[in-house]
């Protein structure tokens, strides 16, 4: 916040910083940011819920993100997602009960030339196959 001079218009920047430090934006942190920047709480909450990038729930230990961009879709990312859902037993956006793995979808990470793409804890892996992805999930389930 200090970096942006406590400017009100730096709300989104500040929320990014908080989320990258704590993994998610819980009620306390949203309240704190809103008070510090002198922004109405409703505006802060509205911004957090409007943008996909912000999450209100803490992520699992590992995060499997599957790109749902057009190029990935044409190359079968929907099948990857279905396989991941079946393996983990959760819909996208949720975390497994033991808190090990979160399953997410991304709008597009810009690695379309290597579609379909998955992100394993933020690392881009291109030309993914179902077997490859399940193998990674198995590894994470015990780590």
């Amino acid at each position: 916040m200090r970096k942006n001079g406590f400017a009100r218009h730096a709300l989104i920047e500040t929320l990014h910083t908080v989320q990258s430090a704590f993994g998610c934006l819980d009620d306390d942190s949203i309240r704190f940011v809103a008070r510090s920047l002198r922004v109405p709480l409703s505006q802060a909450y509205g911004v957090v819920t409007f943008y996909h990038y912000f999450s209100l729930k803490p992520p699992g230990k590992h995060t499997m993100t599957i790109c749902a961009g057009t190029a990935c879709y044409i190359k079968g990312s929907d099948k990857l997602l279905a396989a991941a859902q079946e393996r983990l037993g959760i819909p996208p956006g949720q975390t497994t009960e033991d808190g090990q793995i979160s399953l997410m979808t991304a709008r597009c990470v810009g690695a379309c030339s290597r579609a379909p793409v998955m992100l394993c804890d933020g690392e881009v892996a291109g030309e993914t196959t179902g077997a490859h992805m399940l193998e990674q999930l198995e590894r994470w389930a015990v780590e």
Binding site: R8, H9, A10, L11, I12, E13, L15, H16, V39, Q43, G46, V47, F50, Y51, H52, Y53, F54, C67, A68, G69, T70, A71, C72, Y73, I74, K75, A106, R107, C108, V109, G110, A111, C112, S113, R114, A115, E123, V124, A125, G126
Partner: protein
């Protein structure tokens, strides 16, 4: 910083580079980096040191043919190596000065011959984190020339003369836009760069920001001088962390060299740029929504007029252009408007960068002159559809664009021609589909995207896209009727005409264009309950199939 000092820096970089006998360039763009080009670069640097040869190992931005990655180019011979990994480093270094490594060498002459590189001229040739590399390629010369030798009006005149049109998709004449902002009153004006590349399936802007960030900054500074702005913002998607870090480095270096800040080049011109992060909202690519997001609010669009050129950021006149538009500015100022206007077709000048993806042999970034035939891009540069499948359609413009069928491939690429075909130029995503893609399903995919991305402010878009989605889902499940098609068309027309912003107005395009060119696929789904491509799961019993 003066032009003489700039030349001195360029000269010293050239002298420094001349000390080396060979240059080994390693592509470190996302696609190559995800396949280990980072380790490759370290291995090459180690091998070069051990060999005792005079070799410069350089990290570069995207070279283009991403499907052949990780890519390595050896200069001065311009030998391309594809699918290189760290274990090949020794062989490549040993081959320097002798015969190239045959197992890795690839012939890309066909891929590059038809391309003309303006925006991507430096990508793959310079280290994006070194400002001196950019200066050695005539970087910032255009800015200093404009500041010392041209009037703001002179700059606008040159841009108008070039015929450059907005590369974000709309194709509004850039010179005209600059002129409007320049004429707007008030002493505080803003320049904004739209780097919210929301189109899923396009990554040109990411590559430009990552591979040649200074080019964007220089373009913005020239624009600021021309319209009389003092402050700039680059709005980048949070999904592009590398682009953000490269731009941050680039801005720091430019400030250190005195190319941003106060009294640039000892003139009264002050300009500085800040980065603003997006947070995942497609609608923020729309200019009024983008401005709302920069101000720290929800990204919902506003009715226009007033246009941002008159009342934009915090109510001040604001110039908004796309990354690729700014990337075209420096070469135009350097080489003149006529040089640029000589390229391209009659009403669409210059070149355009496309991100070629989907079912095509050579995926990657290509830059072609406007007016080139789609067939040439797909069959010659792209190498055609692989694995013995047949080409079905090419999708341009993302969720706002349409699908172009095989019989229209001989049309030249320009803003107007694409619009006439029911698609749009868009930011430059080009996704090729073969016979395994179902067009009804593709239309449904895009409508679903627009439905989730609709900001919800105006009803035609919020409710209309949901209704379109329901109708298309019914058809995909084999429960559709022929009346549904008519309903779909009239719904599309309504959404198109009554929505507030570009998202809603263009959301029906994928549906309308597939209905126009692939109506038989819809009819197959409805009448015969059959998906010709075998994508859709029909729940209804398949009684008609006999």
């Amino acid at each position: 910083m003066t032009i003489e000092e700039l030349e001195q820096i360029a000269e010293s970089v050239r002298l420094e580079n001349a000390k080396y006998d060979f240059e080994v360039n390693v592509c470190m763009d996302l696609a190559c980096a995800s396949q280990g080009s980072g380790q490759l670069r370290e291995a090459l640097a180690r091998a070069a040191e051990d060999s005792g040869k005079n070799v410069l190992v350089r990290r570069t931005g995207c070279m283009g043919p991403c499907s052949a990655g990780p890519m390595v180019r050896v200069d001065p011979e311009e030998i391309f190596y594809s699918h290189v990994n760290a274990s090949h480093a020794g062989a490549i270094v040993n081959s320097l000065g002798g015969e190239p490594v045959p197992a890795l060498q690839c012939d890309l002459s066909e891929h590059f011959d038809k391309q003309v590189r303006v925006v991507l001229e430096n990508a793959g040739h310079i280290d994006p984190e070194k400002i001196d590399d950019y200066i050695a390629c005539d970087g910032y010369k255009a800015l200093l020339t404009a500041l010392t030798e041209m009037t703001p009006n002179g700059v606008i005149h040159r841009i108008t003369e070039s015929g450059l049109r907005g590369r974000g998709g709309g194709g509004y004449p850039t010179g005209l836009k600059w002129g409007t902002v320049a004429k707007a009153g008030g002493d505080l004006k803003y320049v904004v760069c739209n780097g919210d590349e929301g189109d899923p399936g396009a990554f040109m802007d990411r590559s430009v920001m990552e591979g040649d960030p200074h080019r964007v900054i220089e373009g913005m500074a020239i624009a600021a001088y021309a319209v009389g702005a003092t402050k700039g913002y680059i709005y980048v998607r949070a999904e592009y962390p590398v682009a953000v870090s490269r731009l941050t480095t680039a801005l720091r270096e430019a400030r250190r060299r005195g190319l941003l800040g106060n009294s640039i080049c000892n003139t009264p011109f002050n300009f500085d740029v800040e980065i603003r992060l997006g947070a995942g909202a497609f609608v923020c690519g729309e200019e009024t929504a983008l401005l709302a997001s920069i101000e720290g609010r929800r990204g919902t669009p506003k009715p226009r007029p007033p246009y941002p050129a008159v009342s934009g950021l915090w109510g001040k006149p604001t110039l908004i252009n796309n990354v690729e538009t700014y990337a075209n500015i420096a070469p135009i100022v350097r080489n003149g408007g006529k040089w640029f206007a000589n390229m391209g077709s009659e009403r669409s000048k210059g070149t355009k960068v496309f991100a070629l993806t989907g079912k095509i042999a050579n995926t990657g970034l290509v830059e072609v002159p406007m007016g080139i035939k789609l067939r040439e891009i797909i069959e010659v540069i792209g190498g055609g559809v692989p694995d013995g499948h047949t080409f079905k359609a090419v999708q341009t413009g993302g969720p706002s664009g349409g699908c172009i069928p095989a019989e229209m491939l001989d049309i030249g690429v320009s803003y107007d021609a694409l619009l006439k075909m029911g698609s749009i130029m868009g930011s430059g995503g080009m996704i090729v589909m073969d016979d395994t893609s179902c067009m009804v399903n593709v239309a449904r995919f895009f409508v679903e995207f627009c439905m989730t991305e609709s900001c919800g402010k105006c009803i035609p878009c919020r409710a209309g896209t949901a209704q379109m989605f329901t109708l298309l889902s019914r058809i995909c499940e084999g429960k559709g009727t022929m009346e549904d098609l008519d309903l779909l068309v009239s719904l599309c027309e309504t959404i198109k005409e009554t929505s507030l912003c570009g998202l809603g107005m263009t959301a029906p395009n994928p549906v309308l264009s597939t209905l126009k060119y692939f109506r038989n696929e819809y009819i197959e789904h409805i009448v015969h309950k059959r998906c010709p491509a075998g994508v859709c799961n029909m729940e209804a019993p398949v009684e008609v199939m006999a």
